[in-house]
Symmetry: C2
Subunit: 168 residues, 2 copies
DNA sequence: TGGGGGGATGATACAATATAACTTTGGGGC
DNA sequence: GCCCCAAAGTTATATTGTATCATCCCCCCA
């Protein structure tokens, strides 16, 4: 379910997921940024890929691949699992979405185009998942790995619990 | 594949996964601890559950549920997916194993019976996965969540890369 | 002593997530 | 016109995880 335009104002980075906001603007921004980045990198944001990105961005809740497939099928009869997984793989490779490992689901990246490692706060009540970028936390991860003589390539940090609104 | 007894000595917590060691001792310790804990808690470590725990502990690499099923089937013909998932669920609930979300696989807990939140270092080369308990990192997670007014219930921290042996 | 209750397992079927492998399409360069 | 290559189409299958109902068995107790 898409939240509709309620306000022309944004609330600053990192808070959008938690309160009513102009979500169409989130989508528009994400799509515009994706187009620009793909242009810049000379990779193709094809109609299918863009549509999948749009579907993932319809909410701030992670979306399953087969949910994406259902949505995509409405306008694109030929869509099959590989159609979706290819698009998702592309979007992940370009840093436009993230996979939430503990949910087997996908979420639009709020920091596309900016080098970052992010962490996720997943509300078990409303499903809303906030992407945060916490350099201290990131440093703590690196430090822990270093102590164990481990070379980091990828970091998965997913914190599940209750968001501010649901804990109320 | 099980590594065999090569030395009667241990190398201290957190290092066992990284070098040749007396892995049978790892298994024996884990099973003994599990028995004691289940006794204490008045829950049943049934033959199936113990066998599954043993299978998971056969290496320091996360094991998939269907790998467990294959192994279990050798001695237990009636085993089916629910048999395995029930045992895994029990072992997770009792804190005897962990699920590695990014691999959909399961790993014996090296700190069973001790309250802890752990993190995992997953080597993409050899598969060896080390469980670490880093209080600083854990605090950083809590701090990050607090800053976002998020109530933490569960933390998933999985760092993938190269272990010391594979990078070295 | 023979129900009865409840936890554990058996058994069957199916759902949900993901990939393999081969074919077809379509746009750009030569 | 032809080739090349990335993208998408197509079919089939692999992998991971659940739902549901039946059965077994131990313990308690009337
Ligand atoms: Zn939004
Ligand atoms: Zn919530
Ligand atoms: Zn060991
Ligand atoms: Zn390694």
């Amino acid at each position: 379910m898409v939240e509709h335009r309620t306000s022309p104002h944004h609330s600053g980075p990192g808070r959008a997921a938690e309160k009513p906001h102009d979500h169409d603007a989130c989508i528009d921004t994400a799509i515009a940024r994706a187009r620009a980045l793909c242009e810049e990198r000379s990779v193709q944001l094809t109609p299918i890929r863009e549509k999948v990105l749009q579907i993932v961005w319809r909410s701030h809740k992670p979306v399953g691949a087969y949910q994406v497939l259902d949505e995509l099928s409405r306008t694109h009869k030929a869509a099959r699992p590989p159609t979706v997984y290819r698009a998702l793989d592309f979007l992940i490779a370009e840093g436009l979405i993230h996979k939430i490992e503990s949910l087997n689901a996908y979420l639009g990246c709020g920091e596309a185009g900016v080098a970052h490692t992010s962490q996720f706060l997943i509300c078990r009540s409303c499903g809303t998942t906030e992407e945060i970028v916490d350099p201290k936390l990131d440093q703590a991860l690196d430090a822990a790995a270093k102590r164990a003589r481990f070379t980091v390539e990828r970091k998965v940090v997913e914190i599940a619990g209750l968001c501010g609104r649901c804990a109320g």
